[in-house]
């Protein structure tokens, strides 16, 4: 479990990070909490000749809730998300999802930036960010760039981020209505067999808008626009939930692995989404 040797850098500003990335291209990677990258390096599934530790880079931390917009610096850890009263008041789904990631030790180290930028379909934050229609803030040699979470993921570990870019923050409008992040996993520390992020708005007893995204059921997170649309205008009864689940099943494409065969995953996805919708509706 010893990774290949690498050069280690700990720059204190983003110019320093970008200079190293520009010089070494895809031989360089940034390290946030390291709890996805370091295990891959130890297994020698990832080789990183130039490792750039972001821990001393200024401007990458902090949670702000201002004027209806929420912004989290990329180096915000899951334990900081869980502990933030202001964030939990403004967007409680962040805390609910973070509590279901890995275990306490990992949550002290794991960051939102690493979780969304890594492109692992098992990570929970990408689906959640798609549910919230978040924007990812990237910076590269040509300056900053903004990408919608719903457009960011291309395939497993493949994203819209270029090799010489760094994800610096995520931001999204303060969500309204009921919420739920529901996750089925085999044990603490495991990735989801299936997980669902749901935000629902209720007015006059009916659903007026709904946003639904699924985790670890394709090689990217899946934002299911049709599943959300199936709930709009309904009182979110059994028939509406059936329609939403059917729409979601049309959008996911799970593969068989040690969490089970495809049919099982589709079954779990259905149950999890149904539970998430029911809970979000009860809170709407």
């Amino acid at each position: 479990m010893i990774p290949a040797a690498f050069e280690y850098y700990r720059p204190t500003d983003m110019d320093g990070v970008l200079a190293i990335l520009t010089e070494h291209g895809d031989d360089a990677r940034v390290l946030a909490g390291g709890h996805s990258l370091i295990p891959m390096m130890k297994l020698r599934m990832a080789e990183v000749p130039h490792l750039i530790d972001l821990q001393d880079v200024s401007g990458l931390t902090g949670i702000t809730v201002e004027g209806g917009t929420i912004r989290l610096g990329a180096m915000t850890t899951q334990s900081e998300i869980i502990a933030s009263v202001a964030l939990t008041e403004a967007a409680p789904i962040l805390r609910e999802a973070s509590l279901q990631i890995a275990d306490p030790q990992v949550r002290y180290m794991g960051t939102i930036g690493g979780n969304v930028a890594n492109g692992d379909p098992g990570n929970d934050m990408p689906g959640l960010m798609q549910c919230l229609d978040a924007t990812f803030h990237l910076i590269g040699p040509d300056g900053p760039r903004y990408v919608a979470a719903r457009d960011f993921y291309e395939a497993a570990y493949m994203t819209d981020r270029e090799d010489d870019e760094v994800l610096t923050a995520v931001s999204f409008d303060q969500p309204v209505g009921g919420y739920a992040y529901e996750k089925q996993k085999r044990k603490i520390g495991d990735y989801a067999t299936a997980a669902a992020a749901v935000q629902i708005v209720k007015e006059g007893g009916k659903c007026t808008s709904a946003s639904i995204a699924m985790t670890n059921l394709s090689d990217t997170p899946i934002y299911s626009e049709e599943a959300g649309a199936a709930l709009v205008g309904t009182v979110v009864d059994d028939a509406a939930m059936d329609a939403a689940v059917a729409a979601m099943l049309g959008d996911i494409d799970p593969t068989e692995d040690n969490r089970g065969p495809i049919e099982f995953k589709r079954h779990v996805a259905s149950l999890i989404l149904r539970r998430a919708i029911a809970r979000a509706w009860s809170r709407a």
Binding site: M1, A5, G34, P39, L51, Q55, P104, Q105, Y108, M109
Partner: protein
């Protein structure tokens, strides 16, 4: 590639300085370089928590931290929590409540529990189980570990009250 770097750590209050490759894992630094063998290597894959130490006030699994990342950090291991002549309340309580059998997970378990009780001095049973979820024990079934942590919380709170 030999690219050793100068590393400075404070471990259990003592300053340590040495040259190491950045890829060295913190658990290997502690056990093999500094002879601090309380933190154990169970799985070496971020699952079991036997290698848990406190790094700058956070419970971390030291098998998943490069020594380069820890450069400049303040680290506490089980050796910094108590010693045979002066056991920490958690160590006494684990002993009294049979919170260990083979003992392999215990250093990580107690190091994590100490940090957990610092953050949450009045936990519910659910809080304890959730807060200790990153540490695996293959002997006890956890029941007595939870009991030991509860008893310690009561004891520490009573001591705090008495002091006030």
């Amino acid at each position: 590639m030999s690219n050793k770097m100068h590393i400075k750590l404070t471990v259990n209050g003592e300053e340590q300085e040495f040259l190491a490759e950045p890829r060295e894992l913190l658990i290997h630094t502690l056990r093999e370089r500094l002879d601090i063998t309380g933190p154990h290597i169970g799985c070496e894959t971020t699952h079991c928590g036997a290698c848990t130490v406190t790094l700058n006030g956070k419970s971390v699994k030291s098998c998943t931290v490069f020594v380069a990342q820890a450069n400049g950090a303040d680290i506490t291991t089980i050796e910094g929590i108590g010693d045979p002549d002066n056991l920490h309340a958690l160590q006494t309580s684990f002993k009294e409540h049979h919170g260990l059998q083979c003992g392999f997970c215990t250093p990580g378990m107690i190091t994590r529990a100490a940090k957990f009780l610092e953050e949450n001095p009045n936990p519910t049973e659910e809080d304890v189980r959730f807060g200790m979820a990153g540490n695996l024990c293959r002997c006890t079934g956890y029941q007595n570990i939870v009991k030991a942590i509860f008893a310690t919380a009561d004891e520490l709170n009573a001591a705090k009250e008495a002091a006030e």
